[in-house]
Amino acid sequence: MTKSELIDFLAEQNPHLYQRDVERIVTTIFDEIGAALSRGDRVELRGFGAFSVKQRDARVGRNPRTGEAVKVAAKRVPYFKTGKQLRDMINS
């Protein structure tokens, strides 16, 4: 399922809403999650899962093609941990 299929589904479920409003709703949700993560905040959605940011230290990596050592800068990466309820749904 893509974002636009998700929007189509919600628009069908909510015929009283304009398609463009449904689109803004979905966009807002994911934008807000992204904004929270870029502030270093955590987003916890009980039953679904939690988005957080993990710190990766600087390290010396290697170009796999040339074998040359390259410095990889420290960075922050988004991380998602599946919630219990969703994990159970996937395994049932």
Binding site: M1, T2, K3, L6, F9, L10, Q13, N14, L17, D21, V22, R24, I25, V26, T28, I29, F30, E32, I33, G34, A36, L37, S38, R39, G40, D41, R42, V43, E44, L45, R46, G47, F48, G49, V53, Q55, A74, K75, R76, V77, P78, Y79, F80, T82, L86, R87, M89, I90, N91, S92
Partner: protein, 103 residues
Amino acid sequence: MAGETITRAQLSEAVYQEVGLSRNESADLLEAVLAKISDTLAKGQSVKISSFGSFSVRSKGQRVGRNPKTGEEVPILPRKVLVFRPSQVLKARISGGNADDAA
């Protein structure tokens, strides 16, 4: 890091501010989004949200684990796990966002 925790309340408030539906309806729509994503994943299908990331289900085979307390071998049954892969856009947004206050 700011280190605050955002929950459904703040997300549905953002939807409320942005679209101007009632607070109740904003909360319902957020729930509908999460439910649809969950149902899709439960069917084993993946979910791709452009400029955010994709969720997919991966099957893990059976392997032998060990009870760390007793040392006893226990089989870990085959199961499915959810994998989230952030998009390049989200990665860039996060590694770029106040990287200076990370320390």
